[in-house]
Symmetry: C2
Subunit: 333 residues, 2 copies
């Protein structure tokens, strides 16, 4: 059986993770990388993998003949523009994660993919993606809402978005933000209280900040805790550290999350609850692993004659698995 030919579009942390995840599969192969900065990528990956400029779509599609292209760009700038363009030529998988723009992205990708006869798997990774699936299943089985908590581990979950927000503040040289779930809030959900939380009720935020020499620390602190949306609604702790401390204490991209739903079954209200907890030493590599499984599904959907946009909710789970139907029936049911 020939392997599924995969191209990586965009080579940052997620793109690197996809390359490593593909290397562990037996049914898929990386046939090329496309990038806005191919020279930078060539320097990093060497001669083993061909790299072409992403703008020359016709050229790299002809050269690489991908079954699926995994879009590893960001949700703010890259995907809304790149996605509808590229799906005119190739099947795509993306990790679009702007929850409030989900319908728009779906419909833009769906229209473009239906017009070209291609498949666009959108918004996959662990959240959205796996968590969307777990929330929807919990609701389908228990008829209740599902809650998402992040940072259940002692260290907490590193939020790239909040770290970036800290780095925009005047006087900040570098920063990392860890999100922590509030244990009592988790327990409230576990007890089946189905509370109406405000954002600050579920999580706290812990910031490690390297200030520039001579910066006004009190002004930085005030700017952080008052930043609307990002920090203002939350109990926020700030640690000023040196760059060396940040580099050693805050290395890597750990993250974790919990989907939890608690309800009852039957007329006498027997308790019923489900919890899905994932812990990742590397958040971008976790996203990459889920993207690669969905690339497998995209290729299968296309082979089955399907076109248009699909989320994780629209894909039969067996399509994600490298195992055959007979193997799944015999050993995984």
């Amino acid at each position: 059986m020939s392997k599924t030919r995969v191209v990586i579009a965009g080579y940052g942390n997620v793109g690197r993770g996809v390359r490593q995840a593909l290397a562990k599969t037996e049914d898929m192969e990386l046939v090329g990388i496309v990038s806005r900065t191919p020279d930078r990528v060539k320097k990093e990956v060497g001669d083993a993998i061909p790299v072409l400029p992403i703008a020359d779509t016709a050229a790299w599609v002809a050269a690489f003949r991908p079954d699926v292209t995994i879009l590893c760009g960001g949700s703010k700038q890259d995907l809304p523009q790149q996605g509808p363009e590229l799906v005119q030529s190739v099947c795509t998988v993306d990790s679009f994660d702007n929850h409030s723009q989900m319908p728009e992205h779906f419909h833009a990708m769906d229209a473009a993919a239906k017009a070209s006869g291609k498949v666009a798997v959108i918004a996959t990774g662990w959240d959205p993606g796996i968590f969307s699936l777990e929330r929807t299943l919990a609701n389908a089985f228990l008829g209740v809402r599902a809650y998402g908590f992040y940072g259940m581990t002692e260290k907490g979950g590193l939020s790239m978005g909040h770290s970036d927000a800290l780095r925009t503040i005047e006087g900040v040289q570098d920063a990392r933000q860890y999100t922590h779930a509030i244990p009592e809030a988790v327990e409230q959900v576990r007890r089946g209280e189905n509370p109406d939380f405000k954002p600050g009720d579920m999580h706290t935020r812990e910031c490690f900040i390297v200030a520039k020499p001579g910066a006004d620390l009190e002004k930085i602190r005030k700017t952080v805790v008052e930043m609307p949306g990002y920090f203002a609604p939350y109990k926020t702790t700030i640690h000023f550290v040196t760059q060396e401390e940040l580099n050693s204490k805050c290395a890597g991209f750990p993250h974790d999350g919990l989907v939890i739903a608690s309800g009852t079954t039957g007329e006498v209200h027997h308790s019923a609850s489900v919890e899905y907890h994932c812990r990742w030493g590397s958040n971008p590599e976790a996203t990459a692993s889920v993207l690669v499984a969905h690339a497998r599904a995209a290729a299968r959907l296309f082979k089955a004659g399907r076109s248009g946009a699909f989320t994780s909710l629209d894909i039969p789970p067996a399509y994600l698995s490298p195992l055959s139907q007979e193997e799944l029936l015999a050993h995984w049911m």
Copy 2:
């Protein structure tokens, strides 16, 4: 929009749970019950729900016009015979749970359903069913095996099969068996050791037995702990209790389970693990809730022109949800 018309076939604990779960839905309605003992069922449910003999298939199909029939019989005797017969006339959903006979049941149902143009959703509930899905997803994302533990709670999980096995022993009047996960085994999996467990390494078994007057307790004890498959491989504890104690201490059907997989991502092996834990105050009602969601999916598959057998792995998760695609995109992704 007209409601999905559902018939319950077989009215024991799971059938009762299905009736109660259907009452909580807005898109489905119970139109009738069929049973081998319709008089017994009529006495229990009164006039609110029509009850007909299951053997007169043509009569109840004409009377009830079901979109889906939920088969609530047992996996040993009922489903292998009933399933392929009934799916000649109606779309079915079952909770077949004999893991070793899964391929046979799938192929028997698939052939019969394809011949009649109906849909047969098989082997759903929380295990197999949700757990099959969670095992398969964990493997698709992390490339490792997934482990199943049962009885993580203090009380443990009530095993009907093992309770039944105890009641077959000479001198036993009544009995309940609770399964307990071995915490150290769970920790081994959490640490990513991917151990090769023998059955007795993962669980212990706790039996509450009411002996008949004058029975030889030591003989009962020996028969239990030496029973092949059921108890011999496990550390087994036995409590002899009175019927009153059993009735008060061992009421209901609590159960719970954990799917857990632990691996790594990337070249430097960042830790990566997922855990899915469900806790049910009533095991048969939990199974019923999952069956009802899959009945929704069966009706949708049939409307979409599909036929044949489907497991939880073959169904797009959105098909299980009462929510519309737009609602899912806007609020559940």
